[in-house]
Symmetry: D2
Subunit: 363 residues, 4 copies
Amino acid sequence: MENSFGKLFTITSFGESHGRCVGVTIDGCPSGLALTEQDIQKEVDKRRPQAGIGATKRTEEDRVEILSGTFNGHTTGAPVCLLIWNKDVDSTEYEKMRFLPRPGHADYTAFSKYGGFNDFRGGGRFSGRITATLVMAGAVAKKLLGTVGIEVLAHTIEIGGIKASPKKIDEIRKNVTTNPLRCADPTAAKEMIGLIEKVREVGDSVGGAVEGIALNVPVGLGEPIFDTLDGDLSKAILAIPAVKGVEFGSGFSVAGKIGSENNDSLAIKASKIVTLTNNAGGILGGISNGMPIVLRAAFKPTPSIARSQKTVDLKKMSTVSLEIKGRHDACIVPRAVPVVEAMMAVTICDFALRAGVIPRVIK
Amino acid sequence: MENSFGKLFTITSFGESHGRCVGVTIDGCPSGLALTEQDIQKEVDKRRPQAGIGATKRTEEDRVEILSGTFNGHTTGAPVCLLIWNKDVDSTEYEKMRFLPRPGHADYTAFSKYGGFNDFRGGGRFSGRITATLVMAGAVAKKLLGTVGIEVLAHTIEIGGIKASPKKIDEIRKNVTTNPLRCADPTAAKEMIGLIEKVREVGDSVGGAVEGIALNVPVGLGEPIFDTLDGDLSKAILAIPAVKGVEFGSGFSVAGKIGSENNDSLAIKASKIVTLTNNAGGILGGISNGMPIVLRAAFKPTPSIARSQKTVDLKKMSTVSLEIKGRHDACIVPRAVPVVEAMMAVTICDFALRAGVIPRVIK
Amino acid sequence: MENSFGKLFTITSFGESHGRCVGVTIDGCPSGLALTEQDIQKEVDKRRPQAGIGATKRTEEDRVEILSGTFNGHTTGAPVCLLIWNKDVDSTEYEKMRFLPRPGHADYTAFSKYGGFNDFRGGGRFSGRITATLVMAGAVAKKLLGTVGIEVLAHTIEIGGIKASPKKIDEIRKNVTTNPLRCADPTAAKEMIGLIEKVREVGDSVGGAVEGIALNVPVGLGEPIFDTLDGDLSKAILAIPAVKGVEFGSGFSVAGKIGSENNDSLAIKASKIVTLTNNAGGILGGISNGMPIVLRAAFKPTPSIARSQKTVDLKKMSTVSLEIKGRHDACIVPRAVPVVEAMMAVTICDFALRAGVIPRVIK
Amino acid sequence: MENSFGKLFTITSFGESHGRCVGVTIDGCPSGLALTEQDIQKEVDKRRPQAGIGATKRTEEDRVEILSGTFNGHTTGAPVCLLIWNKDVDSTEYEKMRFLPRPGHADYTAFSKYGGFNDFRGGGRFSGRITATLVMAGAVAKKLLGTVGIEVLAHTIEIGGIKASPKKIDEIRKNVTTNPLRCADPTAAKEMIGLIEKVREVGDSVGGAVEGIALNVPVGLGEPIFDTLDGDLSKAILAIPAVKGVEFGSGFSVAGKIGSENNDSLAIKASKIVTLTNNAGGILGGISNGMPIVLRAAFKPTPSIARSQKTVDLKKMSTVSLEIKGRHDACIVPRAVPVVEAMMAVTICDFALRAGVIPRVIK
């Protein structure tokens, strides 16, 4: 079950970048949820390459199909299978590079693990394209969470060292759609676009960071000591290609803090218990505390760059120079924003079902 | 199975801080592994409070007992149950604070989740003491990994903003035992001790960071797309109380990097494929690439501080001031070092079994 | 993960009887296995309705498609998704019976469990048609088992009280293809066909039993105390609709036996340890002992009969008479034979992977 | 997780027949359940050897201890660890027989699987004694089920071909405690006792069958298509040593029936939907239908008999005669009755949690 995630809301991903399709099966989705292909399509569209930010030229006209699990516009309780047929696939470049693992890619590890039988075309299972399966599952999770008022959103907070200044939830919601970077700070966004363009021109790529936020998560989600909310969220986020770190609330900055500044004081607001700060990122002891869940993920620069690189010819076992051709994003961070949202939604949905916050039948 | 971790090498933790015992059951341990109580005791001893760094005064004379799973000094293939009886328990302070959740602790989330039935004494299941169960399991994992030459080690790299300078593996191995901080940089260690002392005097606490390293991990461990090596490692590390972030290789710094500097070039060394740098932290596409696995975890300052804090009386639903008494560490980071080692070992052990790197019978 | 089965070789079924398709995803299939659509098609064809035994007239021209997981004719280590598009679907009768649960069917339990949102057309997820997904997965499992010399076969041993006389393996292999009942005893088969015809004429149905056998299973498969070989086999077999009992070796007859007659004496044959009898059905303590695995499953008569029956109108909550129209098998036992084979193959494959008998890469 | 069972109510068994203890950990038990050692002790006492029916002379004064998971007499939501220390252990006979696998026992399969490292003393993990861990877990499950009105009971229905005549629920409840066989038919019980005594005198053993019944199970438990209620019940029952078959409702007799006699007509009784017969044994499509769950399990005669038997010396690889000494039951069926109850309770409890029938906090 290595391609499955979730205990009660279980998603199983399949498909390859240059195969016939990419798809996902959702098992454990409650019956009675209103669900159409359009609900999923609109989330998938968010990860389309955006104009003006050095994204791949592959025209991904991804059309979502529901293969099973709905009837009369509602989920039935049976597995929901969602699929996108692959189109516009050009595998010629990859055949030439079969034995030339690209630095920073999974080419070498996949070749070794699967004995050379892996579908290497376009990165196969390790392609960013596989994130479409996560986004499809996330779309269903988001709809489910919506039935109990939980909202998940994400935004770009850093590109190549340029950091967005912190914004309020309302501004984030509004601003992410106003620029191709899905960044809530329009000023920083402009700078980021400039950097990406500059990097793209020299055939290079650049990394960044995304913040994910979940609102209205009730107290009590998470199943310690191992199935913690933060533990499963981090595992979910690390399933997204290129992520090299995950942090919650104050995150890595806690290493430099003292207890009296990092502890969040408790208080009562509208007869509800809250904390006055949110250094915990909404999670204490692996369990949600009712405050917004806040996490950040670091994305490495796309390893596919046009510059000459050193690698090993796996057949001849000799060192060679490699120049990667083909269509690649100079910065995948903006396209990763809906994926972070999706994986947060899937994870929280699973815990909401485990805690009984979402019922088995939606009425 | 919320208190279980691992698919083939499965550990199940039980026990409470102020209950009768803390224990762990290991299911799926291959038969034939030489294993004595001393093997486990020596790892458990590493997390004992150290003199001179403001650690709790609770005298934890933790004596490990093997309850099952070994016969004639070897594992049998049956579940290995390991136990430590609790002693020197003083719960009086906790009874008074039953309805006063300590800021930064799991008191409020546990109270809510378990309907007030949770054993709150000493933090119950959310106590740092529970990490003894992780370390016991880790001791068995480390022995198993040793049979195939894999080594796991960890060290303190930051306390309250004071950072250790990078050291070579040999120095790390040697230096961690020379100071109570388990820090490989003796100069930084001295500074850190000074800071902890200062913080302790004012009744406060301080955070830090730990680096974990696994050596000689063969290519091919990890089961993408969800059961990735980094995904499961992060989940494992986040099961350790107080961790707020995990990163691999270059970690969060990748957000500021370009592809040509972050990609690790491949090369051949002693007829083995290696990378010339290790920004990937030994993991590509969720699979080990044969280089050292490197991760870092951020630990928040211990939430138990002597200073007055604001909280809510859960019974009266009113805001109150709280002063925590009792015995607490001013900095838990050094005691977390063997726990990071343990959780890394457990996770890698599980993947080594899944990949067939460790056989089902040790001969 | 209610629609998934298997720990390392995990199959996930999806699709409905009258939906767009039925499909299955296989996760954990080793890479390097030669696999074509024809390999799977030939197993699926075995469950086609046979002429002359009162089977449904629905023309199931089931064409298998591989959607993912193979490349250049071999498995890649990625999930293998297999699909059959549904054709020739006529749902008109079912719409009328929406609130009239058929006795002996899952109509009422599914209606209750899924709050009326279940796809009731043709039985939805509870249709015999769903066994096509099991057979597809079984086809892959059988091919995998073949690489290590393990063979799985099944045959009809009873229909409506008419029992086949015991036959040797060679005869079973040969005879099952010579009659539409997949019965190894040609004389009994004739009688059975007569009975089915008689039953069909009066609009009734009849039950039966199937025996499944696995040959060349090495000693050591099974993971006690819970993941026993017989325990998981029984769970797998009970996933087949209409099964009401499973037994191993001497089965239920052991209730009337004494130890000295039921114990299988051990002996040496061709320097291999064997038992002189096989009352154990090849399993002791939940672990295979190297002898043939032998199980039997009892199938109830198809609940869909043309005779008038009493049921409850779920909307009006009143008792009514029901006459089922449509196309139904008078005896599903012969079509269940390949399904028993499939579920045995899937289960044994999973344990063979867990024991390392099948490697992660097939060369 | 081979020694774990259950998805939300997960039991993990550990310990050996002649080791230090036998124990079980229950993970996922809701908080707030009143639970004392006496609750568990009384179930464990049921499997004590009874006078007058040829049971082992080993004095099992099994004293249950709760090691974790309760506080102030209630479960806390943390894992409940239950333990019995082993006493009165005599392993001398077993040392002699180390390489002489007893026919009908798991000696040979365990030896092979675990490379000779298994604790063979008293059968180790394959001893009937391990069922004490199941009964302890079952005791907690039964208490939990009791909070929602579900009752589980079992009784002996056959010993060596002598069958008990069917009795009503009230009689079963009452009669099982009146004879050492836990048989609801006093006349048959007397005959059975006579047979057991006769068999015991000649150093032999005898098999039998047990029926398990669950009352007041609501409609909707079971998670098809794989996690069916009958599928998981059969897996649970087959974890009990010596079981060779499981059947539900009409069971194996359905092979000889026609549809019109086997289908259970639906009707309304006290404004609840019921079936007029219960051939389905309370399960349709893998889901409970509100009628009593009825299953039967066949137990083989205890393989430990005093008569001379043929086996193989695993060290010398030669055929030898074997005479087993020591203390053994001539018929284990009566002692298996509480174990069947326990495993039914554990399984139903898991499904009740999955369906939300039992809440996460008991109030």
